[in-house]
Every structure is written in C-alpha cells, then in structure tokens.
C-alpha cells in the first residue's frame, strides 16, 4: 500500500486510454468482485463532505479557529486524505486480483 498519490492526481481520471470494449473494460477495471468495487465507490461519497467541511473550517471563512481547534481539524483533513489513498490502493488491488 505504499502507492502514494497527491491530492491533485487523485481526483482526476485519465481520459486518454479507451477500453477495448465496455464489458471487457468493466471486468478489467472492477476486478473479480463487482460488489466490493461498488462498496469502494460508496465510501468515496461521504469523504466529500468530511474532507470538504474540514478544509472549509481551516480556511476560517466562518470565523477564526484557536490553535488547538486548528490542529484537530488539520488532523481530520490529513486522515481523510489517508483514507482516500487507501481506497485508491484498494481499487488497484481489486483490479489486479485473479478472476
């Protein structure tokens, strides 16, 4: 799981490589267990709000944070990023798993 990805690259999907056919590509991309793949996708959704709101707090648009609050929120953002990296790695593993 040492596959490290920056925040910028994690959000955008490459549009360059076209699949040979939709069904082949779907199997190739989802790997052996499509239900696990769906679950992984579902984990991405709540992360939008978790990481997003935490980042907004750090911007202090809705009022200043004291140093402790700032530290706690920064930890939330950092760990949310960590979860994103874990999901990305999990997806890679699913793709490589034997069918």
């Amino acid at each position: 799981l040492g596959h490290d990805r920056s925040d910028k690259s994690e959000g955008r999907s490459s549009q360059a490589e076209a699949p040979a056919s939709d069904s082949e590509a779907k199997v190739a991309e989802e790997g052996s267990n499509p239900r696990v793949a769906d679950l992984v996708h579902d984990i991405r959704t709540p992360l939008v709000a978790v990481r997003g709101y935490a980042k907004m707090l750090l911007e202090e648009r809705d009022g200043p944070l004291n140093p402790t609050q700032r530290e706690y929120v920064a930890i939330v953002v950092e760990n949310a990023n960590r979860v994103v990296r874990l999901i990305n790695d999990l997806e890679q593993l699913l793709k490589k798993a034997p069918r």
């Binding site: 910028k8 959000g11 076209a18 699949p19 779907k26 991309e29 996708h41 959704t45 997003g52 949310a80």
Partner: protein, 464 residues
C-alpha cells in the same frame, strides 16, 4: 457582474449541501436538485443555469441518461461530472456524451473550481463567437438608408423615433425598395442592436415548416422531430425578428402570430409550456394588405395589430434624386469586393439610370451596378433597359403600330452600332465604315442615344 448560476445534481444530501455551500462561498449562485427527474423538470420549466455539476450514480434517471438527454435536446449547458465511479470506460462515455470534465469523489476543491471555470469560459467563448457573427453580419449588411428624398428622410426620422419602442412595425413597399434595409436600420438604432436580428421569409418556407421555424418544436412533436429545436422567436431573444412577405402567411399561422403579439407568449410544437416572446416584430410585404383583408385572405385583427406603425417606402422611380447617391454608394460598396477596375460609374450611365423607371427598384439597380463593376461594358445594360422600355411599349394597348416598328428598328440599330464600336475599340470612323454609314451619321446617333465612350476604353485605346 451577474453571479454565475450552478445547479448541483446529487442524490447524497451531505455532498449536495457541501457543494452548494462551497460554491456559494466562491461567489456562485447555487441551486440544488436531488434527482435526474428534478433536473429535467427544471430545464423544462425554462431554468437555465450557467453550468451543472452532475453525479453519475443517481436513482431513476442516472447521469448517463441525463447527459444523453441534454445532448439530444441540444441544451448548451456545460456539465462537470463528479462521481464515485472512476472506471475509464465510464469517464470516456461521459465525455463522449458532452461532459466538460470528470472528477472523481472526493475531489480537490481547486480542481473543481478550475473545471467549472474552464467549462464556463468555453461556453462564454461559444456565445461570444455567436455575438461576433451577428455583429459581423450587421457590418457586412447594409444598415443605412441612402437617400436625399424628403419623403424617405421623413421615414428615417420616424424609424429612429420608433426604434426604441416595442410596438410592431409594418413596412410596405414594392419589391426591392429596401424594406429589409429599413428593418435593419430600425434594429441598429434600437437598444436591441446587440441582440440578434433574424429574418424569416414567410413565402420561401411551406406553412407547416414555417410554424416549426418560427416557434420551434419538442423532441417527438412530429415524425422526424428527433431532437428539440428552438424557433426563431426563441432564438431572437431580445432582438428583432423580421417577418418578410407576411402577406403569404397561412390563416392558421396568422392566428398563432396574433396570439404572440397580443399575449407576448407562445409554445413550441408538442409542448404546453409557454415561453415569453421578448423580441420586436417587424413585418414587411409588397402586397396591399388592406386588399388582402378585404378579400378575407389576411386577418383583419392581425392587420391592425401589425399596423400600429405603418411605413410605406416609395418606389425608386418616385425618388430619382436618390439614384446618383445610390450609384456612388453601391459602386463603393462592391468595387473592392469584385476587384473592379471601375472607380466610378460613367456619368452618361448614371444619367441613363436616372431616366429609367426601375421596376425592380433598388435591388435591380444594385444588380445592374454589380454587373457593370464585374464586366465594365455598357452595351448589355443599355440593351436590357431598352428591352424593358420596349416591353412596356408593346404591353400598352393604346400604342400605334408605327411606333412599335420604329422602336424595334432603333433597338436593332443600337445593337449593331454598339457591336461595331466594341469591335473597333470605339474607333468611331472605323465603326462607321463597318456599318456603311457616314461618320457624322454615327455621331448623330450616339448623340441621340446620349452615349459616350466608356472610361475603360478611353484609357486602353489599342488593347485588343
């Protein structure tokens, strides 16, 4: 600057609310929809956001179906897809179906803003190109009424006064007098000048097609309506719509047009949704509409609706003082376009134009000038004008037979004389010899016909 409107479409409440708050904090005006059905209903209700952020996995109508539907309807709103599905096949499919960008959840906020800004910029460029095209059309098309005639000057003054009102204008006049030019003059002198000017020639389109051309249609409104299409009333926006040859419109369409003029609303074919008509209507015709009303061919109520401000442009023969002005204007307008060696029309040609009746009015004059600029030879023009005069003579039942034969003989003579002059490069002595007449007789004929050597031949004496 008006805040740009973003519609967030996502079934997950926390994502939807977060996106709305985040984008609002960056200055966008945000609205949300929690399903594909809601998005379609809003668009059908006339809501037009600047951009849409769309989740792919939605219950009911999903992201793919929505993209397909927007593409089919020709809805030009940029869509940024934000999805938990990162399969390459899904991304490729979404982009093929018109998505501007595709972001994977959870996205980087800066990247989202960049995707939205890029999509908006692209759309604005498209709109700008459209506007520039309209402006280019306006500069390459005649928008000034060239005249020295008191009556036409008065019409120009009225046109300027009414330009900024919303009332319909009815422009009457023979074919070719410049009704469309006056309509454009009104448009460019109104506050609508930056909006489109659209012309619909009612006589050129079959009535069934004219209805869909004017009012547009929904997908499936009739066989062959594969995609939705906005009509000219919609496309004109806050601009001007010119209904040319309105006298040819069918009674059914006359009724529909009356409804638009009265209530300021219309609906596309196959739809009950009312759309506000915000454009100004200018109608033109060369028919006597009052006679058409008397014969029951044109609705009386529509006639009076359109006749709020009637303007009748006099024919060219009743404003001969405009002919030299138009000659200069049209020569200047077309000589560069046709790369013509002619700098100005020979005075004798302009004199001849001034004495001609111009049944086709300014359009005919324009065509004759174009022809002279391309082929600077007066003889075919003189022959054509003579021919029209001759036709006028024979169409008159009170004419004497001897006049007809004298006219025909003179016409034949002129043709032979001009041919001889052309062949001898306007060497009149040689031409007289070829014709078998004396030099003085030839000069007398040319004087009688008020013909002088064209400029081109003077400057190129022995060129062929």
């Amino acid at each position: 600057m008006t805040p740009r409107k973003i519609l967030v479409v996502d079934d997950d409440e926390s994502t939807r609310t977060y996106l709305a708050r985040f984008l609002s904090s960056r200055g966008y005006q945000v609205e949300v929809a929690n399903s594909g059905e809601e998005l379609l209903a809003r668009l059908a209700g006339g809501y037009r956001p600047s951009a849409i952020t769309l989740d792919m996995l939605l219950p009911g109508v999903d992201g793919k179906e929505l993209l397909r539907s927007l593409q089919k309807r020709g809805v030009a709103i940029p869509v940024v897809v934000i999805s938990g599905v990162g399969q390459i096949s899904t991304v490729v499919e979404a982009v093929k179906m018109g998505a501007s960008d595709y972001l994977l959840k959870p996205f980087d906020e800066e990247e989202l803003l960049l995707a939205i800004e890029n999509a908006l910029e692209k759309q604005e460029l498209r709109n700008e190109i459209k506007t520039l095209r309209h402006q280019l059309d306006a500069t390459t098309t005649q928008t000034d009424v060239v005249t020295a005639n008191p009556e036409v000057l008065r019409i120009k003054e009225i046109a300027k006064q009414v330009a900024n009102t919303d009332v319909p204008i009815l422009i009457l006049g023979e074919s070719g007098v410049g009704k469309e030019v006056l309509a454009r003059y009104i448009h460019v002198h109104s506050s609508r000048r930056d909006c489109p000017f659209l012309k619909v020639t009612c006589a050129a389109i079959p009535n069934d097609l004219l209805e869909s051309e004017l009012f547009g249609y929904e997908q499936g409104a009739f066989t062959g309506a594969l995609t939705e299409k906005p009509g000219k009333f919609e496309l004109a926006g806050k601009g001007t719509i010119l209904l040319d040859e309105i006298g040819e419109m069918s009674p059914l369409l006359q009724a529909k047009l009356l409804h638009v003029l009265q209530d300021g609303e219309f609906s596309r074919l196959g739809s009950r949704r009312l759309i506000r008509a915000t454009c100004r209507v200018i109608a033109t015709t060369n028919r006597k509409l009052s006679d058409a009303v008397a014969r029951g061919q044109f609705r009386e109520d529509l006639y009076y609706r359109l006749k709020v401000i009637p303007i009748e442009i006099p024919p060219l023969r009743e404003r001969r003082e405009d002919i030299p002005l138009l000659c200069s204007y049209l020569t200047e307008k077309y000589r560069d376009l046709y790369n013509s060696p002619v700098q100005e029309l020979p005075p004798e040609l302009v004199d001849l134009f001034c004495s001609y009746s111009w049944p086709g009015n300014i359009r005919q004059l324009e065509n004759v000038i174009k022809r002279y600029l391309i082929l600077p030879d007066m003889s075919p023009i003189l022959a054509e004008m003579d021919d029209v005069r001759h036709r006028g003579l024979t169409n008159n039942s009170n004419v004497l037979l001897k006049d007809v034969s004298a006219h025909a003989a003179e016409k034949a003579e002129r043709e032979l004389v001009f041919r001889a002059l052309d062949q001898t490069n306007w060497n009149r002595k040689q031409a007289a010899q070829r014709l078998g007449i004396c030099y003085k007789a030839l000069l007398n004929k040319l004087k009688k016909w008020q013909v002088k050597q064209p400029q081109r031949n003077r400057s190129l004496p022995e060129s062929h």
